[in-house]
């Protein structure tokens, strides 16, 4: 027997599932508290967030909270593990394409008539001193933690909720799924599909996981118009343009959700090279091509 709750948070639909129904209220409370903290630390769209304040740093080292420090560390780890295919210094690139506020406002707006391409500044230029709790960004460089912060938050939420409740917990933040504690006997059943808001009967595949994380990246959901062309949100850091859509949706399972999301985002960015890249890392993945054909890697169930 499991119980579940869902609500809107950090721009996505959040779900909390527990194996002990009596623990649901506590788990939801823990998750909401974690998400508020993540939002205050990592949001690119709140003027009062820590991340927004870094824009005024002008190249000087800035003291940051332990939470933001950890979130930036995860983003830089993702960049290192993907040789820069997933780069947190695309904040300026996204802004140049018109994504400079909450996405609901971007989608409903007309978008910029012209765009100026802004390649990523380069993650190697970010200096994070974890011991001192400081980060230094070159002047003008803006971080966007969107590729990893949600998955990082899912991992934190699941761990905190299971610690508080003593039961199995699944946290789903916009399709980034983390599980912690004892899973149900038949595992957590998860439908992988294009859109995390889809119904549980939508086309896709249902798989069962018992630990770690499962993340899905897709070019089909977050789309808007800029420069007279429809864009999606997964950028090639080298050009500042959305990547070619070899794969429309990629799902990856890994030891935690942050690693899973790193790989799923990288796979979209890597295009035709993605299946081999995933196999070399023994990552179970399901890749859906633009034409709907499916490729799997790393022991993903056929």
């Amino acid at each position: 027997v499991t119980a579940e709750a869902s609500f809107e948070a950090i721009g996505v639909r959040a779900e909390v599932l527990v194996t002990d129904p009596s623990a649901l209220a506590t788990a939801v409370d823990v998750v909401e508290t974690e998400l508020r903290a993540i939002d205050v630390a990592c949001s690119r769209f709140r003027d009062d967030s820590e991340l927004a304040r870094l824009r005024q740093a002008n190249g000087e080292p800035q003291e940051i909270s332990e939470l933001l420090c950890e979130a930036i560390a995860v983003a830089l780890r993702a960049a290192a593990a993907t040789s820069g295919a997933v780069d947190p210094t695309v904040g300026g690139s996204l802004k140049a394409l018109g994504w400079d506020r909450d996405f609901t406002l971007v989608r409903s707006g007309a978008g910029p008539a012209q765009i100026v391409l802004v390649p990523a500044a380069g993650w190697q230029r970010v200096r994070l001193d974890r011991a001192a709790g400081t980060v230094t960004l070159p002047a003008g460089v803006e971080l966007d933690l969107g590729a990893t912060a949600k998955a990082f938050a899912a991992d934190r939420c699941a761990a905190a909720a299971t610690a508080a409740c003593g039961c199995g917990v699944l946290v789903n933040l916009g399709g980034d799924v983390a599980v912690a504690g004892p899973a149900p006997k038949r595992g957590w059943r998860i439908l992988v599909t294009d859109d995390h808001r889809a119904s549980r009967t939508a086309p896709g595949q249902t798989v069962s996981v018992t630990s770690g994380g499962l993340a899905t990246s897709s070019t089909t959901v977050r789309r808007w118009s800029a420069g007279g062309v429809e864009r999606h949100h997964i950028l090639d850091p080298r050009t500042g343009l959305p990547v070619h859509e070899t794969w429309r949706t990629v799902s990856v399972a890994a030891v935690d959700c942050a690693w899973a999301n790193t790989a799923s985002t990288a796979a979209i960015a890597l295009g035709p090279a993605a299946p081999r890249w995933l196999e070399e890392r023994s990552l179970p993945a399901r890749l859906v091509a633009a034409d709907g054909s499916v490729v799997t890697t790393g022991g993903w169930p056929a």
Partner: protein, 87 residues
């Protein structure tokens, strides 16, 4: 708009080519250093195009590789508990 975008793409492509050249030169220099130091084996699996992570970030290439050890998902035909999709 298209002409402007094409021009910007060309500029971006030139930047990429320059960056690749820089990486390649850095890779050649690193390889030569390793050979002369008798440490060729220390280059491991990293290609010359893989950027070396600075100490300032507290990472090394080894530390940033993907961890293994998690079970792959298994097939399930039951009603899903949750949905993983793009957002």
């Amino acid at each position: 708009v298209n002409a402007q975008e094409q021009a910007q793409r060309r500029v971006a492509a030139n930047r990429i080519a320059l960056r690749r050249l820089t990486f390649a030169l850095a890779g050649i220099a690193a390889a030569a250093t390793a050979v002369f130091a008798g440490l060729a084996s220390a280059t491991g699996n990293h290609s010359s195009s893989s950027p070396v992570v600075s100490d300032g970030n507290g990472f090394s290439n080894g530390a940033s590789s993907f961890p293994g050890g998690n079970d792959a998902p298994s097939f399930s035909s039951g009603t899903p508990d949750s949905v993983s999709g793009g957002s």
